[in-house]
């Protein structure tokens, strides 16, 4: 882990703004060394012990996840803690949580791309990968949370002999479209952006297997002008397509709640509030992954402290948005003079699940305030702690919304409680296993930094002087 020693400027610290000078995005690299540094990671023939250890651990958790899913499908939804009135529990919380995590990637790639934020290049590849893996984790849950999993495909508008269509009025159906579209576009965007780098790997590959695989994936990329021209155009179009999706997917997810009539769900603030929350936790997850990755794989000069600093600023900003949303919800609950609405929020803060609400507030609103201090924004340990807290907080935000609202709605006779079972808890843990398994495979076999894009934002090498630079 990098540390900052007072008085002496860390050579890798590019967080200081010097007037008249643009801070370097990449430190101390030339084109060749960047390629070497990134591709070298994917080209190692043997993985490190640490990787195997981490991979073994995550893969076991993934195995546990599938065991839990198997048990669930074999036995029934009753193995979870859901009941009447709390018909949705961990599964939906996890779904919204993972979809939220999956926001940062596309935001970084698409929106920051359109906004010409060049600093995105160092982090976009693995942020996008993270997005895809998170959406995979998320996508698992709506599938398994239905009572009859084997019929879940009925949610898709597949022409059938019964002429039965899904109910297009249902927000769950909108969800199906929103998430599947988002996943498709994100995956496409990620893959298209990776083609030049895959070609590099192909060219550098020594073994036949790698040559064939990377060759197939690179789709005959030769780096010709025409290739570059088409590539850039496609990338721009995909970015333009992905940008509204970043906003729409979590807005649509929020409609699951907002379009219902349950107090605490039926709220117009949900779409922007969900999007802000998603960006918030998505960036926290990127930070959480970036800090160890850059330390372990010697990428501190590519994913610089300035990148982390920027992301922490975004975390701080979105934290304030989320905090604002929390307070506005309370204001509106009071201002509406709707007793059910008012109670729903008072119950969050003071009811049986108040601990969940206050975990949410402290993690999401209070913890990120430390990022007002640059010292915290640039402290790897500090930011990892905050990032973890933010992810806990955001998970609890969904817990608060889903469980607390449902547990006490209109009729006091039907108020209930929700207690997760061991299956719920192990499934949640298992979903992290799946996420990290996929991520570990990614850092092992795929260029984790968009080399071609990084080169585009590096200083142009001067002829014959590169070696000395």
């Amino acid at each position: 882990m990098a540390s900052i020693t007072a008085g002496q400027r860390d050579p890798l610290d590019n967080t200081h703004d010097v007037p008249g000078e643009r801070a370097p995005l990449i430190i101390g690299h030339d084109y060749a060394s960047v390629t070497d540094a990134v591709c070298g990671l994917a080209e190692r023939t043997t993985a490190s012990k640490a990787w195997w250890l981490a991979f073994g651990f995550s893969a076991s958790l993934t195995g546990m996840l599938f065991a839990m899913v198997g048990y669930l499908i074999w036995t029934g939804i009753g193995v979870w803690g859901v009941n009447a009135p709390v018909g949705w529990g961990f599964a939906i919380i996890n779904f919204v949580f993972w979809v939220g995590i999956g926001h940062a990637g596309t935001l970084i790639s698409a929106i920051l791309f359109l906004l010409r934020q060049n600093w995105r290049t160092s982090i976009n590849r693995f942020a996008e990968a993270m997005t895809i893996f998170a959406v995979i984790c998320a996508g698992l849950f709506p599938g398994i949370h239905v009572g009859r999993v084997w019929l879940a495909y009925w949610m898709f508008p597949i022409p059938n002999q019964m002429s039965m269509w899904p109910n297009f009025r249902s927000p769950l159906l909108w969800d199906v479209f929103a998430v599947s579209t988002y996943f498709t576009v994100s995956a496409l965007f990620w893959y298209v952006g990776m083609i030049p780098d895959l070609a590099t790997l192909r060219d550098r590959a020594t073994g036949k297997v790698r040559q064939v695989i990377y060759g197939a994936l690179a789709q005959g990329w030769r780096g010709s002008n025409r290739h570059w021209q088409n590539y850039e155009r496609v990338y721009l179009i995909l970015a333009a397509l992905a940008t509204p999706l970043v906003l729409s997917v979590h807005s649509v997810v929020s409609f699951d709640f907002a379009a219902s009539i349950i107090p605490g769900w039926h709220t117009t603030i949900f779409p922007p509030y969900f999007v802000a929350g998603a960006v918030f936790c998505g960036f926290a997850m990127v930070v959480l992954l970036a800090v160890p990755v850059r330390a372990m794989f010697g990428l501190k000069s590519v994913i610089t402290m300035r990148h982390l600093d920027n992301m922490n600023k975004i975390i701080l900003a979105t934290s304030l948005m989320v905090g604002y949303a929390y307070s506005v919800e309370f204001f509106v609950a009071w201002y509406s003079a709707n007793p059910y609405e008012y109670f729903a929020f008072m119950n969050r803060a003071m009811g049986n699940y108040a601990w969940g609400y206050w975990i949410m507030v402290s993690c999401n609103v209070l913890a990120p305030q430390v990022f007002w201090f640059k010292r915290m924004r640039t402290s790897p340990i500090g930011m990892v702690i905050v990032a973890i807290l933010v992810n806990i907080g955001m998970w609890f935000e969904r817990f608060v919304i889903v469980v607390i609202s449902l547990s006490r709605d209109f009729l006091p006779s039907s108020w209930g409680k929700y207690i997760p079972t061991w299956v719920d808890i192990l499934t949640l843990i298992g979903s992290f296993g799946l996420f990290f398994t996929l991520f570990l495979l990614f850092i092992r076999f795929v260029p984790i930094v968009a080399v071609s894009e990084v080169k585009g934002v590096m200083q142009q090498p001067r002829k014959g002087r590169e070696a000395e630079a």
Partner: protein, 1012 residues
């Protein structure tokens, strides 16, 4: 075919293991050890004869038809019997007897399987409704735990046996008993009103003149009989005309739940509370003085919590007020009462007597009614008899019939006498017909040790329970739907009980068993028919079978007779204040009663009216008492009385009288089925002869706690929850004071009324052109008895989920009865509100289902398409009334073929992963449509009655077509009291409630009842 050859040597023999094939001696001994009863069968190679026997049996099971015929054998149909259409229900009228009192039922039977029990409209004690137990008795018919063979105690443990073996034994044994006149023969039986059984008893007495017949019921009403005997000198059965009573006072009498005639009395009670113009002058007022919360107390206009053991004194104080101060004339014959009542003036309760009670009683002489609970001492019953007479109620609101079996000893004395004889070795043979004395006899009698001194114990019971487990012979007793029998209603209505199915568990009726005892070889049918011929006349037989009763066969009322005052002096023992200290009050549970219905899953899972507790009993204590003892909800409490102790969880129930701990009897069974033995805590060890109603106890809080399964308040409510509940209840459950109802202003209560149109629609609402189904529930009529829940469960194949799932909040009932407390925690009022699917026209559930599995039909029903449902549970989340139920597991797994016979074939069983909810009994609507369609007409009002409405004793639920101008449901929806719950959500429910009307009167004297 002709070429088929049978070569014996080539027929393969089936074998189950190599050992069997070898037919070794080892294997023979193994089979004999493993299956002693069927060793024979298993060792005989499968023969053609055996095969045909087996096939015959399975055909019989498959094709069993409604056996109205006396014939004992059952044959498969090779020709369809006349008038029988497979798959269509046939209805048979019969009667169910509980503790000697019958109520008329009509049983629907599909292809020989009884699947639904409903009330018999012709029966005066039923009027078409049923109680909880009658509804649930169907489940017992198919209970796999019911014993299915004769057992006898052998040298090493219980062996299975055969009826033939018992018959042979009985012939010999009872002939020997008859030789000495039955001197050492005793029969212990429960109360039974069957005329045939009584006739057989006479035969029994002839054959065994020296034998004795002992009647015992753990939950006995003998104090009432005894009270009549004290006051009027004879055994009388009181009958009430509740619809004619303007002031009803119940002293610890839960007559709406516990009275043998509760179904009829509930109807009469609400008949006196009608608000339409014809009736509103006669709106009755109910006072209930009670220690523990009861259903009757919950619907009271004034509920006065008094410790159960002080209620005797309370009655004395009321009598003192009436006779000594209000100037009520003492009837002739009890002159000494005045003197005794003087003693009550100094009682602490004297000053606290509700003044309006006295004023009301004085103002409504001849139109009031005082009732005392069967747990209160006989003297108090006598005193209330005097009060009723003095108030002029006798002959008006109160009449009497003579009790049969006059002058028999009190149940407690009877069993005590029997035990004494048993202990002294005077009893050689004890026949126990039903009853379960080893479980429910007074603890101080030590029935078990007395039983060891009896030579032969023969027990007939439906289950191998505590008593059967130690008996020498256990005989399986048939269910009332399996055998011929007869019974009399509370008023004496004569019913014939006819079998709908051959005994599923190889049982015989008590009549048949008794016939064996007296050496008669008559079958149940002949015995019943000959009794009928003697008592009613043969020509009425077919009519009685059709109607399920003999019309106008109620017993004639009788004059109570002259008052006697020999008992008066013993009243003074109640005039001194009782010692302070905790008392356990033994409550009668409306579901398991004395424990005999404990193995019934429907009953175990239907919540208690007030506590909403399922699957267990608990120590019910008031808020202040719990604080004084130092126990929390769910904490274990140890109660001790007479050397016996009991540990059970505490349930804190607002409104329990101080120092009163209510514990329901009938739980904590040790034998008698899987369900029974798993439920609750046995309170009988605390119950002694001296303390049959309540016992002074020492209490001690224990460290452990227990998870109680309730269907409401699944966990302790925090302050914010409690406050909000209190704010919301008046919005959800509208209640009006009678004086406001007719006070001229029709804007009643907060959020009330709602009959103006506040609807705002962005689109043209759907027009319903054909039928437009709707429902009303009159909260004023609901007594919270829960029978609608079980009726619905039976009609709609609703599974039982068990205690753990109820704790999780996954009970499946489609209709529930919400219970809310209001007001002071020490004396709250209770409101009931049945909630079922509201069939919203603008249904929130329909919009959110991604696969359109819940949709609206053209008649406005919110229908649930089980086949289409994938189980997202979104609909349940979005339902503001929370009436949707999800199948978290396959709730129909591991059921034996017999258990599955109970299912209503008109209703789909739901698989796991599927949502379900109330359908307004759509199958009944469909059936009515077919009938109406065949007759080329529309469905008439009242032709479709959902199961809940059908069973409801008070007819609180009305269902019908809102497009029919003349329908009752439309009239009720237009009633000024009608309102929709959560109307402001604009879901436009088809179910509307009618507000409850209370008639509390005013505390200041001078405002009598009915003045409004």
């Amino acid at each position: 075919m002709s070429s088929m050859k049978h070569d014996d040597t080539s027929v393969p023999e089936y074998w189950r293991s190599l050992d069997e094939l070898a037919d070794s001696d080892d294997f023979r001994t193994f089979v004999e050890n493993e299956f002693p009863a069927s060793a024979d069968q298993m060792l005989t190679p499968a023969s053609r004869r055996n095969f045909l026997k087996l096939m015959g049996a399975s055909m019989a099971l498959a094709g069993m038809t409604a056996c109205r015929w006396p014939s004992e054998e059952i044959l498969p149909f090779s020709e369809r019997p006349e008038g029988f259409v497979p798959g269509t229900p046939r209805h048979f009228a019969t009667a169910m007897q509980i503790s000697g009192v019958a109520s008329g039922v009509v049983v629907s039977s599909y292809d020989g399987r009884p699947v639904k029990i409903e009330g018999n409209e012709l029966h005066p004690d039923s009027l078409g409704s049923t109680g909880l137990l009658a509804q649930a008795s169907l489940l017992e018919l198919y209970d796999p735990d019911r014993s299915d063979h004769v057992c006898r105690k052998g040298t090493d443990g219980v062996e299975t046996s055969e009826w033939a073996a018992f018959d042979a034994f009985a012939d010999e044994h009872f002939a020997a008993q008859a030789a000495n006149g039955g001197r050492e023969l005793r029969v212990l039986a429960g109360a039974d009103g069957s005329p045939t059984l009584q006739r057989m008893r006479r035969h029994f007495a002839e054959r065994f003149p020296a034998a004795a017949w002992v009647e015992y019921e753990a939950i006995s009403r003998d104090n009432i009989r005894q009270g009549g005997r004290l006051a009027f000198g004879r055994d009388l059965r009181p009958h009430w005309a509740l619809d004619h009573a303007s002031v009803i006072v119940s002293f610890d009498d839960d007559f709406l739940a516990q009275h043998p005639n509760a179904v009829r009395y509930a109807r009469d009670f609400v008949a006196g509370r009608k608000t339409d113009d014809d009736h509103h002058d006669a709106f009755n007022r109910l006072y209930v003085v009670e220690g523990c919360h009861t259903m009757t107390g919950s619907v009271a206009d004034r509920r006065i919590p008094v410790d159960t053991h002080s209620i005797a004194a309370y009655v004395g104080c009321v009598a003192a007020h009436l006779f000594l101060e209000a100037g009520l004339q003492l009837p002739a014959g009890v002159g000494s009462l005045r003197q005794t009542l003087e003693g009550f003036r100094s009682h602490a309760l004297y000053a606290s007597i509700d003044a309006s009670l006295i004023v009301d009683l004085m103002a409504h002489r001849g139109a009031s009614l005082l009732a005392v609970g069967p747990g209160q001492p006989a003297e108090i019953h006598a005193l209330v008899g005097v009060l009723n007479m003095a108030l002029g109620n006798i002959g008006k609101t109160l009449t009497f019939t003579a009790e049969s079996d006059a002058n028999r000893p009190h149940h407690v004395d009877a069993i005590a006498g029997l035990v004494e004889e048993m202990q002294s070795g005077q009893v050689d043979t004890l026949v126990i017909l039903e009853g379960n004395p080893l479980y429910d006899a007074p603890a101080d009698l030590n029935f078990a040790s007395a039983l060891e001194k009896v030579g032969t114990v023969i027990r007939a019971g439906r289950y191998v329970d505590e008593t059967s487990a130690v008996a020498d012979w256990h005989l399986p007793l048939a269910h009332y739907l399996e055998t011929w029998g007869d019974a009399r209603g509370y008023r004496g209505t004569y019913s014939v009980t006819q079998p709908l199915i051959d005994p599923l568990r190889n049982g015989r009726s008590a009549i048949e068993i008794l016939a064996t005892l007296v050496g008669e070889a008559t079958g149940g049918y002949d015995a019943v028919k000959s009794t009928f011929a003697q008592q009613i006349g043969d020509e009425a037989w077919r009519g009685a079978l059709h109607d399920g009763l003999v019309r106008d066969s109620e017993l004639a009322t009788t004059q109570p007779g002259q008052l006697a005052d020999g008992w008066v002096s013993s009243l003074s023992s109640f005039a001194t204040a009782a010692e302070a200290g905790y008392r356990v009050v033994f409550l009668t549970d409306a579901r398991v009663r004395d424990g005999r219905f404990a193995n019934n899953g429907w009953l175990q899972e239907v919540p208690d009216s007030v506590t909403k507790l399922t699957w267990d009993n608990a120590a019910l204590v008031g808020v202040a008492t719990a604080k004084a003892i130092g126990v929390k909800h769910g904490q274990m409490l140890r109660v001790e009385h007479g050397g016996h102790s009991l540990e059970l969880p505490v349930y804190i129930l607002p409104g329990q009288a101080p120092e009163t701990i209510g514990v329901a009897l009938g739980y904590g069974r040790r034998h008698g089925g899987q369900i029974a033995t798993d439920a609750g805590f046995d309170a009988y060890p605390l119950r002694t002869r001296e303390a049959m109603a309540w016992a002074a106890v020492q209490v001690q809080p224990m460290a452990g706690s227990f998870k109680l399964a309730t269907t409401q308040n699944h966990w302790a409510i925090d302050p914010i929850g409690t406050d909000t509940t209190e704010e919301r209840v008046p919005i959800l459950v509208h209640e009006i004071d009678i004086k406001d109802l007719h006070g001229g202003h029709d804007d009643h209560g907060e959020g009330g009324g709602g009959h103006g149109s506040h609807e705002v629609n962005l689109w043209q609402p759907h027009e319903y052109e054909g039928y437009k189904w709707g429902m009303t529930i009159d909260l004023n009529d609901c007594t919270g008895c829960n029978v609608c829940i079980v009726a619905c469960q039976s009609e709609n194949n609703i599974p039982v989920v068990g205690r753990d799932e109820v704790i999780r909040g996954r009970e499946m009932h489609w209709i529930r009865v919400d219970r809310y407390f209001q007001g002071d925690a020490d004396a709250p009022s209770i409101s009931f509100q049945p909630v079922t699917c509201h069939h919203c026209e603008n249904a929130p559930c329909e919009q959110v289902c991604p696969v359109a599995a819940t949709v609206h039909d053209a008649e406005g029903l919110n229908v649930m398409v089980y086949n289409r449902c994938i189980g997202t549970r979104y609909c349940a989340n979005n339902c503001p009334y929370k009436v949707r139920r999800f199948n978290y597991f396959n709730n129909h797994l591991d059921q034996s073929p017999m258990e599955t016979m109970i299912y209503n074939p008109q209703v789909s069983k739901r698989s796991r992963g599927v949502m379900e909810k109330c359908t307004f009994c759509t199958q009944r609507i469909a059936a009515a449509k077919i009938t109406a369609g065949n007759e080329d007409r529309k469905i008439r009002d009242g032709e479709v009655v959902p199961a809940c409405a059908q069973a409801c004793p008070t007819r609180a639920i009305t269902f019908g077509d809102l497009n029919d101008e003349g329908s009752r449901v439309l009239a009720k929806q237009k009633d000024p009291r009608a309102y929709a719950m959560l109307e402001e959500l604009n879901v436009r429910p088809r179910l509307r409630y009618l507000s409850r009307v209370r008639n509390p009167g005013h505390s200041e004297a001078g405002h009598g009842a009915g003045e409004a």
